[in-house]
């Protein structure tokens, strides 16, 4: 017996062709790496009429230095992001987060676009992309737009129907750390994660961004911790002070004690690592 029920498969070669198919099809679903979508279809009650595969669209491929920053095509594999020298140098938190996702074969199949466009709270990359101030090029019926990643993640309903083309990272964030907690094994989905990105200068950390993923709600920027770190020499940072600022930032979020303790521990570990690195 066939594992998947029938649907019509399409492999358009341009974003416009894919958008046209998306508009014309009865119940379409976009296929990037397939690790979420095909698994879901095995159990789905509401089944798509059309599967629109994105793998042949050249505009969605590759990692490039544009001169103004990095461009990462939405169909770039997680394994390629984890091993890219360019991303490791300029957005190391993103490479670290990509290296943590699931297992080796799933990283060889899953794409950055699929990870982010799934809009699941429990995926790893949104926190890292917010930490490096990424923007997304987004193609929808109303045309192409460049949006801040946070705005993209907040799109809902018909506004969220479109195709993620690429990610743009303008600023350099060579200092990056990614902490992640799972229920049992490393390869499990994260229960909580902390993404940190910054630039290092002689007079202290610059452009600090700290983002928490609780897997329960959209990612949260830690504004109090960011202001504590900004322009501060790492030797002056204090573990307990940073953890207290994190608690302030997450106050009112109804976060359970377990996750909060994990994140406070991560914050202390982050400060310790930064001090050791003599930034």
């Amino acid at each position: 017996m066939a594992i998947l029920k029938d649907f019509q498969y399409h492999a358009p070669e341009s974003v416009d062709e894919a958008l046209d198919l998306l508009r014309r099809s009865g119940k379409p679903v976009l296929l990037a790496g397939g690790t979420f979508v095909l698994n879901t279809l095995k159990k789905a009650v509401a089944y798509p009429t059309d599967v629109i595969a994105l793998r042949k669209i050249k505009a969605l491929q590759g990692i490039a230095d544009t001169g103004e920053g990095i461009s990462i095509g939405a169909m770039t594999l997680l394994s390629d992001i984890a091993s890219s020298p360019l991303i490791r140098e300029r957005a190391s938190v993103l490479a670290r987060a990509a290296a943590c996702v699931a297992t080796t074969p799933l990283r060889h199949m899953g794409t950055i676009g699929g990870n982010v466009a799934s809009r699941f709270f429990w995926v790893d990359l949104p926190a890292a992309l917010v930490a490096v101030g990424a923007k997304v090029e987004w193609a929808a019926g109303s045309g192409k737009k460049v949006l801040d990643i946070e705005k993209f993640l907040a799109l809902k309903g018909p506004d969220a129907k479109g195709i993620l083309v690429r990610f743009l990272i303008a600023e350099k964030h060579p200092v990056g750390e990614y902490f992640r907690h799972t229920q049992a094994m490393e390869v499990d989905l994260p229960l909580a994660a902390l993404a940190f990105a910054a630039r290092k200068q002689a007079d202290g950390l610059k452009d600090v961004r700290l983002v928490v993923n609780t897997a329960l709600s959209p990612v949260v920027r830690l504004k109090s911790v960011e202001s504590l770190f900004e322009n501060t020499k790492t030797s002056r940072l204090k573990e307990k002070e940073a953890a207290a600022a994190l608690r302030r930032d997450l106050e009112g979020g109804k976060l359970d004690d377990y996750r909060l303790q994990c994140l406070c521990g991560d914050m202390e570990a982050l400060v310790e690592r930064l001090k050791r690195a003599k930034t």
């Binding site: 066939a2 595969a53 699931a102 297992t103 060889h108």
Partner: protein, 157 residues
């Protein structure tokens, strides 16, 4: 139904497949390549591992139509002419095979690692095999086999 041209174990196959057909179904049920195993069908166990352009991937999560234009290697393609690949020989020598159900996936994932990293340490090996479950061996002998295979491949290169 669509016509698809696949490069499987360095042979070209032209087939009529359903749009929704998964690569594992094509490999096992149409082509009789039974080393690729049906198991969890959710991408958790690695028993359906094949190499796609040299990367270990899960054939239960790939549409056959998505594999067109890419090089597919199954366990049957590891030993063309009947001579075992050093990874296969190392698995036998180290006693890294018990029931054998996970072995094709383990061997292919190990080959994918060693083709990119000829001197893996234990951590590299454990990480590279993190998508392949074994319920018999406890993994110790599998890691030993991959270490031995790396040394054997270094000698022959």
């Amino acid at each position: 139904m669509k016509t698809v041209t696949l490069d499987i174990n360095q042979k070209t196959c032209v087939l009529e497949v359903r749009d929704s057909e998964l690569l594992i179904e094509t490999l096992r049920d149409r082509l009789g390549l039974l080393g690729t195993k049906y198991s969890c069908l959710e991408g958790d166990c690695g028993a359906c591992t094949v190499l796609l352009d040299g990367n270990n991937v899960l054939s239960c999560l790939i549409l056959t139509l998505e594999a067109e234009g890419r090089k597919i290697t199954t366990i049957e393609g590891m030993s063309p002419g009947g001579e075992l690949h050093p990874v296969q020989q190392a698995f036998i020598d180290a006693g890294a095979v018990q029931c054998g159900f996970c072995t094709p996936g383990m061997v292919l994932a190990s080959k994918a690692l060693l083709d990119k990293n000829s001197h893996p340490d234990k951590e590299d090996i454990v990480r590279a095999l993190d998508g392949n479950l074994c319920r018999c061996t406890g993994y110790v002998r599998i890691v030993e086999a991959v270490t031995a295979a790396a040394k054997a491949m270094e000698k022959t290169s």
